[in-house]
């Protein structure tokens, strides 16, 4: 599935289902004196869909940003992040992206002044194979609206359409693992439903997904396994359906 991605490392070439793609061990992140993450550990295995849920300010976005190396001022990191068998804590973001990690960031972050097609091309920036055009057509099939708008600047599209573009852009990298940061944020209920349908579809295709969400019900419903993040620490973990039934989760996140 991840052919064409420039992957280095010993496990990379023959990663089969179930192997650990991403492993985070005892991760601490500090913003100045504030400890945003207090030693969290989790892993994502090949072909899995893993969710991290938690309320705002729990550290979900910080987790993803740290894993993918998007640097921020005043941030210092301690702990171990292993992706594809490589220790990557000190790596810059673009190098981690080249390991086959596609991060669809919080707030969509499409490039508004560039066309839909250019955005997709940028998604394939790490690739040198000749199948980029074919993949773009594939995305147009999956997201017909993008095909209709291919030559429009992405900034003129609605929030829902931009979310579709952000997801398609991530897929363009033919990644080993897909990271979605709050794909539902600021979207109308109907669009949120569609977004989760697409994630379900990607999961059914066997893609490896790490989903960070505030909408606990949907995120747990879709996940094979899930973690609950509370003020910088993982307080619970288990299969998605177990956590859905957990009274503490129900109380805190499902508004029961």
């Amino acid at each position: 599935m991840a052919k064409g991605v420039a992957v280095k490392g010993k496990k990379a070439s023959k990663a089969k289902a179930g192997e650990v793609v991403m492993e985070v061990t005892d991760l601490h992140v500090f913003y100045g004196a504030v400890e945003a993450l207090k030693g969290i550990s989790f892993e994502v295995r090949d072909g899995e869909c893993v969710s991290i849920i938690g309320s705002n300010g729990a550290g979900k976005t910080t987790t993803l940003k740290t894993v993918t190396g998007v640097s921020e001022l005043y941030k210092s990191v301690r702990g171990k992040i292993t992706i594809q068998g490589q220790r990557v804590e000190a790596w810059p973001a673009h190098k981690i992206a080249r390991l086959g990690v596609a991060h669809s960031p919080e707030g969509r972050k499409v490039f508004p002044n560039q066309t839909v097609r250019d955005n997709l091309m940028l998604g394939a920036f790490t690739r040198t194979d000749g199948e980029i055009d074919k993949d773009i057509d594939e995305q147009y099939e999956r997201f017909p609206i993008l095909g209709k708008r291919r030559n429009q600047p992405a900034g003129l599209m609605s929030g829902g359409e931009q979310q579709m573009l952000a997801m398609a852009r991530a897929l363009m990298a033919r990644p080993k693992v897909l990271l979605f940061d709050e794909p539902s944020m600021g979207l109308a209920p109907l669009i949120v439903k569609q977004v989760f349908e697409i994630i379900q579809q990607l999961k059914d295709e066997g893609k490896t997904i790490l989903l960070v969400e505030q909408m606990a019900f949907q995120a747990l419903g879709i996940a094979d396994r899930a973690y609950v993040l509370e003020t910088g620490a993982i307080t619970m973990d288990g299969t998605g359906s177990d956590l859905l039934e957990d009274p503490r989760v129900k109380e805190a996140y499902l508004g029961a």
């Binding site: 993918t68 998007v70 673009h94 960031p105 490039f111 002044n113 940028l122 920036f125």
Partner: protein
């Protein structure tokens, strides 16, 4: 009438240089949102390096293509040094609320002027044009070939860069870096490299414009200041951050300057150029071809 036409042609030719430097301003602005106040001085250094390489007296006296090559490499390095000293140490910053970059680039520009004055002296140097050898006669509208060279090189380079930056992954990556470095790096783009690339390219453009300008005006330590400022006005008039805008703005400002001189503005010619800047700021702050930033509130 012929004098008027001549003034316009003359303006277009000198506009070629303004377009090149405006292009340099724009490219650096794109990736960093910073106006490199030392850009004019990068050009000045390029002109000096060319002079020292090519001059028979006071220089080494090599052939002009070699001298040009050395000048371009030199200017590119100076461009990178400007970045290294004035922008890189500031780390991540918002150019709108942190004005440190104005001071650092201006500092570097003043340092470059003083260094050159102490090395080469205040005295202006003369550089022979490469194209006067094409017969040496003045052509159409009594404009010299060396000036046509400026126009041709300026326009061709601007167009080539426009194509590269709009049709290739390099160009897309450049624009992505310009807009949002963090997200660009998630695409696997080495944004630090893109920024350095923009400064290096701006350095090369500065070197080319120094080479073009050296035979037309004298080479002296202060040559970069006024040319740099004029070219900056060109960049704003065309729309800063736009490749096409730099070309249009450069040619426009060249013509404005030339017409002002034709109309007898004399010593006030550069005042006319800066009044154009004021006019643009009042009428259309985004410039002729500048795109309004899509700012969501």
């Amino acid at each position: 009438m012929e004098r008027f036409l001549q003034a316009i042609i003359q303006g277009l030719t000198s506009g070629g240089v303004y377009a090149l430097i405006a292009l340099a301003f724009s490219i650096v602005y794109m990736t960093t949102r910073v106006i490199n106040f030392a850009q004019g001085e990068v050009m000045m250094i390029g002109a000096y390096v060319y002079f020292f390489m090519v001059a028979k007296s006071g220089g080494i006296g090599v052939s002009w293509p070699l001298a040009l090559l050395v000048a371009l490499v030199g200017a590119m390095l100076v461009g990178l040094v400007v970045h290294l000293i004035s922008i890189a140490p500031l780390g991540k910053f918002d150019p709108n609320t942190n004005i440190g970059w104005i001071l650092t680039t201006l500092s570097v520009s003043l340092i470059l002027v003083e260094v050159m004055r102490n090395i080469a002296g205040e005295q202006a140097k003369r550089v022979d044009p490469i194209v006067s050898s094409f017969g040496g006669k003045k052509t159409l509208f009594t404009i010299e070939p060396k000036q046509y060279l400026i126009l041709i090189v300026g326009v061709v380079l601007a167009l080539v860069l426009e194509v590269i930056h709009s049709k290739t992954q390099l160009g897309r990556a450049l624009r992505a870096t310009a807009h949002d470095k963090a997200t660009a790096s998630l695409m696997g783009i080495n944004t630090g490299f893109m920024v350095r690339y923009s400064f290096a390219l701006a350095g090369v453009l500065g070197g080319i414009s120094g080479w073009l300008l050296a035979p037309v005006i004298f080479v002296d330590p202060n040559m970069g200041t006024l040319v740099g400022l004029t070219a900056f006005v060109a960049a704003v008039v065309g729309g800063i951050g736009s490749t096409r805008g730099a070309l249009v703005g450069g040619l426009t400002i060249g013509v404005v300057e030339s017409l002002a001189r034709w109309a007898g503005a004399g010593e006030w010619t550069s005042a006319m150029v800066f009044l154009t800047l004021i006019l643009i700021l009042v009428l259309k702050p985004t410039g002729i071809l500048g795109e309004a930033l899509i700012e969501k509130v």
